[in-house]
């Protein structure tokens, strides 16, 4: 039996490795540009209280030979393309069908309903993402703050409903779309800080990596599995740490990071 099992698993592994070894591309920060200098690293070292071990943690790579860590073998699931984690979540019925496309969509693109988006930054409303574990749902007064100055849509059903809540003084009971189990703790702040502020990637790419292209949805819907494999897959890769591409490192991989 033991031989069965081993041969079976090895076979499976081989299959996956073969099927997916060439599919490792187009992820956030996967490439580290060669030839970057060490100055940024040295500067960063000076910031810390003590810096001796900083290099060890972040695997600072310098010099012309610097390249992404290609030593990682094609692992079981590691190199499976993100497509593997595409999975539409259930439809969540919200008290107000909030049109994300109308707010965050591309201003130059016409939506099916004949309107263009406003191109609002995600973090204009989900304002806590950069400084808290949770991204936060905007308070009602944030909605009202804008909409009381937009008379053109004041009479549409959704906005009327919005003002009903406002007048009643009740918060809108939004339902959770991206719901992680309680034994998982995802930290928005760290990801936003790293990928948007440090690496200066476009917010649509960063937020969209997990949440999908929300700017094309009305009511948001989960598009990735947000499963552990989805997280781990990314955390195993070597990413550039800043936009100078002098340093690379992967996310923490110990279980205590998310489960505690």
């Amino acid at each position: 039996m033991i031989r069965y099992f081993l041969s079976l698993t090895v076979l499976l592994a081989g299959l996956f490795a073969a099927a997916t070894s060439s599919a490792d591309n187009s992820t956030i920060g996967d490439g580290v540009a060669p030839g970057a200098n060490n100055a940024a690293a040295a500067a960063a070292k000076e910031k810390g209280g003590y810096v001796a071990d900083y290099d060890d943690i972040f695997k600072v790579k310098g010099g012309p030979e610097a390249k992404p860590d290609t030593e990682i073998k094609p692992l079981m699931w590691n190199s499976v393309d993100e497509v593997f984690y595409d999975e539409l979540g259930p439809h969540v019925e919200q008290p107000i069908e909030f049109p994300h496309d109308r707010h965050a969509g591309d201003p130059n693109k016409v939506n099916p309903d004949g309107k263009t988006g406003d191109g609002i930054n995600c973090m204009y409303c989900h304002t806590y993402a950069r400084r808290s574990l949770t991204s936060g749902i905007p308070p009602l007064r944030k909605c009202i703050g804008c909409h009381q100055n937009i008379p053109s849509v004041r009479d549409t059903p959704r906005i009327e409903k919005l003002f009903e809540y406002w007048d009643a003084g009740k918060p809108i009971p939004w339902k959770k779309v991206h719901d992680l189990p309680d034994y998982v703790r995802f930290n928005h702040e760290r990801h936003i800080q790293r990928f948007i502020f440090k690496q200066e990637r476009p917010y649509k790419e960063v937020c969209g990596y997990c949440h999908g292209d929300v700017s094309s949805m009305t009511v948001a819907r989960r598009v990735k599995t947000l499963s552990m494999g989805f997280c781990v897959n990314c955390h195993k890769k070597n990413h550039a740490l800043d936009n100078t591409f002098t340093k690379a490192g992967h996310g923490p991989n110990d279980c205590f990071m998310c489960h505690k």
Partner: protein, 487 residues
């Protein structure tokens, strides 16, 4: 000549007399022919003594008790079994080892003695092999029952998963999972393979009903051709060799659950042989119990006869002596070793809260088997029945006294000496496990040949040949005399 058949219930006055000399028989009477074997076995399946149905009912009731306890434990949490943060293990792990132990005797009889051409095993090895399989199934249940989140038991298996994580291959529990799984698979295959010729006989002797369909399916078109027999023997031999390795490694791995740890009383190098021999010992004792029950229940007096029992008892006695030796060796190495904690642990066993049980276990498992040394009691059925049960109680206690005292008295004095008496839930599940094992075995013996017909026929043939030779050499005289020297 008809040999006097024993009955289960004897004159109480004769109880301690043992077997009279003149009823001495060989493993199979030379007067039993092939047809009689077939008809006896087939008839025994059709028509067991009524006690069979009582036994079935009792087993079902026992299983019911066990299931009820388990359901309660599952719903409420393991706390109802009254373990504590010090004594985290208890009856379940002890019973797990016990049942794995029981399984070993079957392999010994069916595989090892097969290789050594011990012909007397031929009437008992089939049910012994069945016991192996069922005892392993019972043992597996205990592992699951013991888990805090038994619905997550599949985490232990190395299956490719989305999370990209594996079980911990360093853990002896994972080795356990592998070895028990492998052992169970192989022993089932071994049991089934050995039954194929007999199943074909059943197929041919039973003419309708679901049994016919079942046997037809299971016999896999066995026709008894030369080629089939040749392949069969090769396969059977190969499997038996493989199974012996598994059996030895199996209980060694179980022992490493303990021996791999650093806890005093567990961290003992001699544990693997100690466990394996202990397993054979308790398994053989269980074989004797089942021997006596089946003999009466299915009217197998001709086949499960006194000669076989005597040999079984002698084998058990020999194992008991080896085990006793290892038992004292284990204590001696601790006593003369430098590990003070282990020494304390040994003293604790003999004097602490578990002292009564420890001395009882020593009496049952070390002293009691000496009864088997006496010839007059070797074939005394009531004595052997009681004795074999006592030995198993003793050996169960041995396992429990490996598990519990170490937990209660290991390295850290603050947690010493909690006397955590298992609650009725633990006892209920243990009780249920005997019902579960008994039920499986009884159903098996009713549906499948509990004695191996084809091997008995080989034996019958051999005995007939012997008889013929005796006649030819002596020219006259009684066949019993001719075969007497063969003991």
């Amino acid at each position: 000549m008809k040999i006097k058949s024993d009955t289960f219930i004897r004159n109480p006055k004769d109880l301690w007399k043992g077997e009279p000399e003149h009823t001495e028989v060989r493993d199979l009477s030379p007067h039993i022919g092939f047809n009689q074997i077939t008809s006896d076995v087939v008839n025994s399946l059709e028509n067991p003594r009524p006690i069979y149905w009582w036994a079935i009912a009792i087993c079902i009731a026992m299983v019911g008790v066990g299931v009820a306890c388990e359901v309660h434990q599952y719903k409420t949490g393991l706390g109802v079994s009254n373990k504590s943060n010090t004594n985290v293990w208890g009856v379940y792990i002890a019973s797990f080892i016990f049942w794995v132990g029981v399984s070993h005797a079957g392999t010994l009889l069916s595989a090892l003695l097969h290789l050594t051409h011990s012909d007397w095993r031929k009437s008992v090895f089939r049910y012994a092999e069945a016991m192996t399989t069922f005892a392993l199934m019972t043992a597996g249940l205990f592992v699951i029952v013991h888990l805090g989140r038994l619905w997550q038991v599949y985490y232990v298996m190395p299956y490719p998963n989305e999370r990209g994580i594996w079980p911990n291959f360093q853990s002896p529990l994972v080795w356990d999972m592998f070895v028990i799984g492998t052992y169970l698979t192989c022993s089932s295959i071994f049991l089934y393979t050995g039954m194929i010729p007999d199943l074909a006989v059943f197929r041919d002797n039973i003419h309708d009903g679901w049994r016919k369909k079942l046997y037809t399916f299971l016999a896999m078109g066995w026709q008894g051709t030369d080629r089939q027999w040749r392949n069969f023997r090769v396969a059977y031999l190969t499997l038996s060799v493989y199974l012996i390795i598994l059996a030895v490694s199996g209980h060694s791995v179980v022992s490493s659950d303990f021996a791999m740890s650093q806890q005093p009383g567990w961290h003992i190098t001699s544990f693997p042989p100690y466990f394996v021999v202990g397993a054979l010992y308790s398994g053989n004792a269980a074989l004797i119990t089942v021997f006596i029950i089946l003999r009466y229940m299915f009217r197998y007096e001709e086949y499960l006869n006194m000669d076989v029992l005597r040999k079984l008892v002698r084998l058990t006695f020999a194992l008991a002596m080896i085990w006793t030796y290892l038992h004292f060796i284990e204590m001696a190495t601790v006593w003369y070793g430098h590990d003070q904690a282990a020494k304390d642990q040994l003293i604790f066993k003999a004097t602490g809260v578990y002292a009564g049980w420890w001395w009882l276990f020593n009496f049952l498992a070390v002293v009691c088997p000496w009864v088997m040394a006496f010839r007059r009691w070797q074939t005394n059925l009531p004595v052997q029945m009681v004795l074999s049960l006592l030995l198993n109680v003793g050996m169960w206690l041995e396992r429990w006294l490996i598990v519990a005292p170490t937990l209660g008295h290991s390295h850290y004095p603050w947690t010493f000496d909690f006397d955590q008496w298992p609650s009725y839930i633990q006892w209920g599940i243990l009780f249920g496990s005997f019902g579960w094992f008994g039920l499986l075995l009884l159903v098996f013996c009713k549906v499948f040949p509990a004695v191996s017909m084809y091997e008995l026929k080989e034996l019958a043939y051999a005995r007939k040949v012997e008889l013929r030779h005796a006649h030819a050499e002596e020219g006259h005289g009684r066949p019993e005399l001719a075969t007497k020297g063969a003991h």
